[in-house]
């Protein structure tokens, strides 16, 4: 029985991809917006979906893979629940963005190569410029911009998220437990 949910899951996956492909009329020229929409849906580009997209658009998989690896925006590996982006544009760089990056790597056990923390909670990446140079150095956590950041403030922000996560998971465990207790009759 364990395989049933997986089958449903992957069918759902391709249904969404089909929607996206249909929206772009299966045009190979729309490859970039298609991949953007896929990534928006799944947070990254799963390999089997890349192959599927290639088949559906009738282009070689190498072309789809080539485009997916060319652009920095596309991720071929799943990202953590919270994405922390540190700006390393010129203005941020001269205002000491690297110490912030190092502090976060140290705190979360991530590195230049291993961008996502082992618990899949955080992904730490650098971006070339977020265009908020007036506030340098800048960090963006889940689309929220924080300016004039210091290593200490960055760590404090991470701690805040961790605290929220632990209370939330506590609450959801409780509600799950309640659901099991309360819903036992329905089974």
């Amino acid at each position: 029985m364990a395989s049933a949910p997986v089958a449903i899951d992957s069918a759902m996956k391709f249904e969404k991809v089909c929607d996206i492909l249909a929206r772009h009329q299966y045009r190979p020229s729309g490859l970039i917006p298609i991949l953007q929409a896929v990534q928006h849906e799944y947070q990254y580009l799963p390999e089997e979906i890349l192959t599927y997209v290639a088949t559906a658009l009738d282009v070689p998989p190498a072309r789809v893979y080539g485009v997916a690896t060319f652009y920095a925006h596309f991720a071929l590996e799943p990202k953590g629940k919270h994405v922390i982006r540190i700006c390393d544009g010129t203005a941020c760089h001269v205002k000491q963005s690297l110490p912030v990056l190092n502090a976060l790597h140290q705190k979360l056990g991530t590195s230049e190569k291993q961008k996502t923390s082992p618990d899949m909670m955080f992904t730490v990446e650098t971006v070339a410029c977020l265009g908020a140079c007036g506030l340098a150095p800048v960090v963006v956590i889940d689309e929220q911009v924080y300016g004039q950041i210091t290593p200490e403030r960055a760590i404090a922000l991470v701690n805040e998220i961790k605290l929220q996560e632990s209370t939330q998971s506590h609450v959801s465990e409780m509600t799950a437990a309640q659901a099991v207790n309360g819903g036992s009759n329905a089974c």
Binding site: P33, V67, T90, K95, G131, A132
Partner: protein, 632 residues
């Protein structure tokens, strides 16, 4: 000061409101900087406070607006990002800075109801200690000529009617209804407008090349792929005045006879994407875009495409490849896109700022435009002023303005790492991003223009202007830019792909003490080879930061190479850990702090560090209250 007979300064901001009813307006800056500092909370509080004060908040400006009406609106970036959130009260001419939600009640009670100024929220010039009431007496604004940026800080970017009330789409209408394509091209040529994206190619000539092509299908693309790290002018225009970009596209389309346009926006600018999409939808609803543009029967479509994060796509042919769904790799020119571009059809690609200028040129006439700036570089240019400077933000000045004016007078002078103004301390300005070069003390009085900058090994580029103080290592900066271009090289040309990699490695050698007497010469040779052997602008300009720092800061490089010393202390590998005997009291705190046992010494006697054991973690320096530890 060098003679600049053609330099005419435009009136400052705030003169455009005269056609509008004189209703009081509270304009809150909703640019990225102010938003990050909590502008939305301030806006919500304004809504509550005004509602509770008996004043009427009106949603649209109407000619019959009464005394008690207040128009509360958000604007695009007002430029003074450092001091945000910014709130302007018009027509009173007040600019409040660093406004918090808790300040809103006072602004409503004292300014809106009482007609007085809330003194504590006004900007104080740190150098003169003068309090500035508004933009007229604020040196940051008063010394600028805000041609393109003016409306960014005044109009609600999400309100097409407000844009139209300000005369918006008037120029596009004129272009469609009463001008012939060749007339438009001629007007733009006469204005002398040059592309603001970096290259500086004359816009009118580019348009003419596409106009004469015999093709039923032509395209106009707006280049909003502002990838230059340290620049955000295009972002501000797209976010703050998206309709001016669409109007510019309309004019360009009419000039070359295109019926399809596209705005290519960088993926890192989600708000710009959203605003541009909304502006396109609004313009379609108003019948400005669509099948019958201004009743002429001509059809014009506009779509917005999000980039996917590749710096090289700012290059015309690479951008076209990207739109066609391919890897963003440049192709050789000719054929130029104006002859054969997107899908093989004549295509014009213009920068966001160029298009915004086009609208103004049609409004004010080419003569007025020409009267600003210098002979060969007419008009104004926006710069993103950042780095070690007191007032960071967006500035717009006529070409021909000196660096000293921008850094000292508009920017308020150089600061230390913590942002405090310091006397002197100016080291360099990096202009034009990874394609540009460094300017030094000697160039402070150089009038900024396309030719003058090229002559000293730099370029206008897209307009990033990063100020650096004495504590910045120039080798480190060159390494930073080389790392960027090396990563962003698309890999097509061998010299760009491999050359940037080798240049980066050589810079690493300099920074880590491995360089020899030959390294610097080799870097120069290789840099010139990359310039010659690359197809597109990225490769041709990639060595610029290295070559220009080598040219102006050779002594600093030589210190790294021969003395194994970095005067700023930024090159960690060259640091020699040392305890200054005169300062050390022998308290032993550092011995306890050291994780590797590298520090030894008797109590109450100066301690010493064993460089072999030291890992330069800095724990000792952090622990020492007497600042006796240096070089870690």
């Amino acid at each position: 000061m060098p003679a600049n007979e053609n330099l005419v300064v435009l009136p400052a901001v705030g003169n455009k409101t005269n056609q509008l009813p004189q209703v009081r307006r509270v304009i809150l800056c909703a640019g990225t900087g102010c938003m990050a500092n909590g502008a939305m909370k301030v806006f919500e509080r304004f809504q509550q406070e005004i509602a509770g004060s008996g004043l009427n908040v009106i949603l649209e400006l109407r000619p019959e607006a009464g005394d008690r009406d207040v128009r509360l609106s958000k604007s695009g970036c007002q430029g003074f990002c450092q001091m945000g959130p910014l709130v302007s009260v018009v027509p009173d001419g007040i600019l409040y800075t660093r406004v918090k939600a808790t300040d809103v009640a006072d602004i409503v009670a004292q300014t809106l109801l009482g007609g007085e100024v809330v003194e504590r929220l006004l900007y104080k010039d740190p150098s003169t200690r003068k309090t500035c009431r508004g933009v007229e007496d604020n040196p940051f604004y008063a010394r600028q000529s805000r041609f393109v940026l003016n409306e960014c800080g005044l109009l609600d970017p999400e309100d097409i009617h407000e844009y139209m009330l300000h005369g918006g789409y008037g120029a596009a209408k004129k272009a469609f209804v009463s001008m012939l394509p060749e007339e438009i091209c001629k007007t733009i040529s006469e204005s002398g407008l040059r592309g603001r994206g970096g290259g500086g190619f004359p816009t009118g000539r580019k348009w003419d090349a596409a106009r004469v092509q015999n093709s039923a299908k032509k395209y106009v693309i707006c280049n909003g792929d502002e990838g230059d790290p340290g620049a955000f002018m295009n972002r501000s225009v797209m976010e703050g005045n998206p309709h001016s970009v669409i109007e510019g596209l309309l004019i360009a389309a009419r000039a070359i006879g295109a019926n399809e346009t596209l705005v290519y926006v960088r993926a890192e600018y989600p708000l710009a994407v959203e605003r541009m999409k909304r502006a396109v939808a609004d313009a379609e609803r108003e019948g400005i875009l669509g099948d019958d543009v201004f009743g002429t029967g001509l059809s014009l479509k506009c779509s917005v495409m999000e980039g996917a994060g590749a710096f090289v796509c700012g290059e015309e042919t690479a951008m076209i490849a990207s739109i066609e769904g391919l890897r963003g790799m440049p192709s050789p020119k000719p054929p130029f896109p104006a002859q054969s571009g997107l899908w093989g059809k004549p295509t014009i690609i213009n920068n966001v700022e160029t298009l915004a200028h086009v609208v103004r040129i049609l409004n004010v006439g080419p003569e007025v435009f020409r009267s600003i700036g210098t002979k060969d570089s007419p008009g104004t240019k926006t710069f993103a002023l950042t780095g070690h400077v007191a007032n960071t933000g967006l500035v717009e000045v006529p070409f021909g303005t000196t660096l000293r004016e921008i850094v000292q007078n508009i920017g308020g002078g150089v600061t230390d790492d913590a942002g405090k103004p310091i006397k002197g301390g100016f080291k360099a300005v990096q202009i034009g991003g990874p394609s540009g070069g460094c300017l030094t003390q000697d160039h402070l009085d150089l009038p900024l223009a396309y030719e003058s900058l090229r002559a000293v090994g730099a370029m206008v580029g897209s307009g990033g202007l990063v100020v650096m103080n004495e504590r910045t290592c120039m080798v480190n900066i060159a390494h930073f830019f080389m790392e960027f271009t090396q990563r962003e090289s698309c890999g097509k040309c061998v010299l760009c792909r491999e050359g940037t990699k080798q240049l980066l490695a050589l810079l690493g050698d300099v920074m880590e003490g491995r360089a020899t007497a030959d390294t610097l010469d080799l870097m120069e040779k290789l840099g010139r080879a990359v310039q010659v052997g690359s197809l597109c602008g990225l490769g041709k300009t990639a060595p610029n930061p290295v070559l220009s720092t080598l040219r102006y800061f050779r002594k600093e490089y030589e210190e790294h190479v021969f003395e194994k010393r970095c005067r700023t202390g930024q090159c960690k590998s060259l640091l020699k850990p040392e305890i200054i005997a005169a300062k050390c009291k022998g308290c032993g705190v550092c011995i306890k702090a050291c994780p590797t046992g590298a520090i030894t010494g008797e109590k109450k006697m100066p301690h010493s560090i064993d460089p072999e054991l030291c890992i330069k973690c800095g724990a000792c320096a952090a622990a020492c209250k007497l600042h006796a530890v240096e070089g870690v």
